[in-house]
């Protein structure tokens, strides 16, 4: 991640700005063609003022302005009922790990919670979350093998409510956004928890792998259509992926990035901070 803007600094502090190169660098950050071109155009419009100015700072400021001033943490409900958080996304993005990380984050913050192992499909997905639940010491509700994920979430809600837990986090199975029946399954989970609390689910977080290119925008569009998203968790930012597509998702769909994952350990997780996100690139 570092080096991305450093490269820009070296190239663009000179009086002449190579716009094609700037565009290429933005594309390399997976910001997407459309957004990259738009940023370049916007900056070109101010080109006269830009000579001898640090284009890095200008570009950073420009991207910063596309992101919300701040993103809300996850406050518990005032009603005292469990706040239901669905963790969704395509296969292998880091949902289960992020569920554990989020649980750990909330627990450390002093919140009580319950986990639902609603990936009843993938081999050993329940066992994976079980290991995490023990590590972060948070109760887990699971169903029999191949159980209906909606039923697992329903039961988990009952258990969370009985324990007066402030949060219920449901880890769902990975599914490609193109699979109609699997997206329907997610809607069913949404409907069923809605029977427990008409305002649930309160948060639907889409987990996006920072290594993903333009398809992440399509993933966000389709998941948002099926179960309205309230935020993004961008994972694997410790890799070489810049996760620029979250900026495109914010811009097109207005869905903010709420958390970032920066490793495989439970503490490699933090609320999204736009300034840090951009600064880390420098």
């Amino acid at each position: 991640m570092a080096g991305f803007f450093t490269k820009l600094v070296q190239r663009f502090t000179k009086a002449e700005i190579d716009w094609d190169d700037l565009e290429a660098q933005l594309i390399a950050g997976d910001l997407g063609v459309k957004l990259s071109m738009q940023i370049v155009e916007d900056l070109q419009a101010q080109a006269r003022k830009l000579h001898d100015v640090d284009i890095v700072e200008v570009t950073k400021k420009h991207i910063r302005a596309l992101l919300p001033a701040y993103t809300t943490p996850l406050p518990p409900l005032i009603s005292g009922k469990p706040k239901v958080v669905l963790v969704v996304g395509v296969n292998g993005t880091g949902k289960t790990t992020s569920t554990a990380k989020l649980a750990n984050f909330l627990k450390k913050r002093g919140n009580s919670l319950v986990l639902a192992a609603a990936d009843t499909f993938r081999a050993a997905a329940v066992e994976q979350l079980e290991v995490w639940s023990k590590r972060v010491d948070v109760p887990l509700v699971k169903g029999p093998p191949n159980a209906d994920p909606a039923a697992v979430c329903f039961d988990a809600y009952t258990s969370a409510a009985a324990r007066s837990a402030q949060f219920l986090i449901c880890d769902t199975a990975g599914r490609l956004h193109t699979r109609h029946n699997l997206m329907e399954e997610l809607r069913k989970v949404q409907r069923i928890v809605g029977k427990k609390d008409p305002t649930a689910p309160h948060e639907v977080l889409l987990v996006v792998d920072a290594t993903t290119g333009g398809n992440a925008l399509q993933q966000a569009r389709e998941f948002h259509k099926a179960v309205p998203l309230t935020g993004i968790i961008a994972t694997k930012l410790d890799g070489s992926g810049k996760g620029g597509v979250v900026v495109a998702i914010q811009q097109e769909l207005g869905i903010p990035t709420r958390f970032v994952g920066t490793g495989e350990q439970v503490d490699d997780f933090a609320p999204f901070n736009a300034d840090t996100y951009l600064d880390q690139m420098l």
């Binding site: 063609v33 296969n91 499909f121 050993a124 994976q128 398809n215 070489s240």
Partner: protein
């Protein structure tokens, strides 16, 4: 998605209609559009640039065919060039001695699933596959492979739950394979980021221990612009022998594969098209090229012209 691209290209090429020959001036705008389309398909921007340069050289001066639109004609030239890049022939697995296959890649790429899918494929071919779990890091990774192995009736080596060293797990796996009387052993490793030097070093050690004749890099079809860096770093450290692209059952166009192919020079051996065990297919470069371009039908149209 696909038809949208098609529309875009058609639009870009409209201006070309009525010209007898393809010339620099009448295709420059179209080339810009194609460049955008390729970038949107996650083709690396340098690869896209080179591709466009090559195409320009090839296309300039060509007669515009009467029976097809100039856009279709250029797409065909693009398609052929991409098939060339992707490797025209499909490459089978090297099953020679010592019959060891190492599977590696980024976190969540699909390694464990693909390892089991490969085992099933070999089993169906009447071979004797064995699975060795070397991911002693991720929670329940061993269990995942064990469950998959059981579902397809292939024996799985499970290192002891206390084993924390992946290299040792791989070595124990080799011993186990011997005890099993041999077979084609597939070693599933933990996911890792290519910028993690420590984990890469571990993978190098596993490779040195195993001396496998196949080292397969598994990558997600939705990989973005980092594909070059990923493929290059893995290849430089563990000398990859083949690529596998997963999750092609989605709508990711998979342009990253062009970069991975070009950087490693390795053949693409299989593609994953679903979560089920039998959803592994041999790679078809022409279909992939059409997918990246999003213009399958056009190619056969021009072929007939």
């Amino acid at each position: 998605m696909l038809s949208l691209l098609q529309e875009k290209l058609e639009g870009a090429f409209k201006k070309l209609r009525g010209h007898a020959k393809i010339s620099e001036s009448n295709i420059s705008e179209s080339m810009r559009e194609i460049r955008m389309a390729l970038l949107e398909a996650d083709v690396d921007f340098k690869v896209a640039k080179d591709l466009i340069e090559n195409i320009k050289t090839k296309a300039l001066g060509e007669e515009v065919l009467r029976t097809v639109s100039p856009s279709q004609q250029i797409v065909k030239i693009f398609h052929d060039e991409m098939v060339e890049l992707l490797g025209r022939e499909t490459a089978p697995l090297d099953l020679g001695q010592p019959q060891r296959i190492l599977v590696a890649g980024l976190n969540g790429a699909g390694k464990t699933t693909t390892s089991a899918k490969l085992a099933l494929l070999l089993k169906k071919q009447g071979k004797r596959p064995l699975l060795v779990a070397c991911d002693v890091f991720r929670p329940a990774a061993v269990k995942q492979l064990a469950v998959l192995g059981e579902s397809i009736g292939v024996p799985v080596f499970q290192p002891s739950p206390d084993e924390k060293d992946a290299v040792r797990a791989a070595q124990q796996g080799m011993e186990w394979v011997k005890q099993q009387g041999g077979g084609i052993a597939i070693y599933d490793t933990a996911g890792r980021q290519e910028v993690d030097d420590e984990l890469l070093a571990e993978l190098v050690k596993i490779r040195e221990s195993l001396q496998p004749q196949e080292v397969l890099l598994v990558a997600d079809a939705a990989t973005g612009q980092q594909a070059v860096s990923v493929a290059k770093t893995f290849n430089d450290s563990i000398k990859v022998t083949g690529l596998i692209l997963t999750k092609l059952d989605g709508d990711a166009r998979g342009g990253a594969l062009l970069s991975m192919k070009q950087v490693t020079g390795c053949p693409v051996k299989f593609v994953g098209v679903g979560e089920k065990m039998e959803q592994l297919e041999v790679f078809h470069p022409d279909r992939m090229a059409q997918r990246i371009l999003g213009m399958g039908d056009v190619v056969s149209l021009v072929e007939k012209a």
